[in-house]
Subunit: 180 residues, 2 copies
Amino acid sequence: MELSTTAYVVLGMLREQPRSGYEIKQAVDNSTRFFWAASYGQIYPELKQLAAAGLVKGEPHSQGERKSTVYRLTAAGRKELRRWLEREPKTFEMRDEGLLKLFFSVAASPESAAQSIATKRRYHENKIEQLRAIEPLAKSSADPYPYIVLRHGIELSEWTIGWCERAERELGRESRRRAA
Amino acid sequence: MELSTTAYVVLGMLREQPRSGYEIKQAVDNSTRFFWAASYGQIYPELKQLAAAGLVKGEPHSQGERKSTVYRLTAAGRKELRRWLEREPKTFEMRDEGLLKLFFSVAASPESAAQSIATKRRYHENKIEQLRAIEPLAKSSADPYPYIVLRHGIELSEWTIGWCERAERELGRESRRRAA
DNA sequence: GCATGCATGTAAGGAGTTACATGATTCA
DNA sequence: TGAATCATGTAACTCCTTACATGCATGC
């Protein structure tokens, strides 16, 4: 049984309660998005395949008047999730266009280098705001892991902002040195 | 003119000297790999397309007996690189399977959580070693930017190792608390 | 003579995003 | 009544990796 990592994200999001595809997407956007994103274009087909494989089971659900299909883990699905969790993680990837531009900045104006850093800093300032907004919820949960991971996100962005400030000062010194 | 980011990596790697596809791949592996990787399967087709678009020019080259095609930036290619460098960076993505497993760890044994963190720590310890190996070369260059970016890589991995150690201690306290 | 590295490429497939499409419901 | 949100899905496309294929050159 070879599943994509995003399939395990779907399974994982059903670990505590049944959810619809729409709710899984919301849960991803409120938690794992910054280190593993998923779009509707993945989630809905994935749910179908997981149901066909017997790892989840969909049931029609009506709350009030609105109808949806909520999925729950089957015993096989829970076992498969656990099996995956117990294997060593493999994938670690970054795609950072800002660092890339900074790397090549000798081929552009010093202002572009500064801009690449400033954009990076703003991205992480914004990210911290979003993460802090969900922090109270995560902190109050009985499950300690999501909060630990959330703290990773916040602290990583704090570190990155600090790095950007140091790099900005360094480039400032550099350009004054060249001007002198 | 809509180019992929990896096309700009190729252009960027030609900013200072002409290189063959093989040499571009080596340069990527020794520098941008950790925040923007590229495979032969991308580089060679990309070089053809860039040549067809007039942004690079390939010339047969023989050093000793070995023959290769080295590419250099055309004026249009240099201009396009510069134009890209001066736009704000957009893409910032992470795919961290270790954080994902840690996030879902309530559905597995406490040992899996510890293992996810330990694997993450080892990955970054290994990465630091690789980056330190290329540090002297980067430091001695007249172009200051690659060294700044390399320092980012080293310091980020150092920070991550520190985070892993803190998380390990926290999980240790947590499990002792539950055992008590 | 053989392994390693240099050097270039293609084909197939997986993973993921984006845009599009549809329709119901809720709230202002 | 109209905008926003809930809810589900598909099609086209891009990007990228992996596996495969080839052949020469170098050094042990």
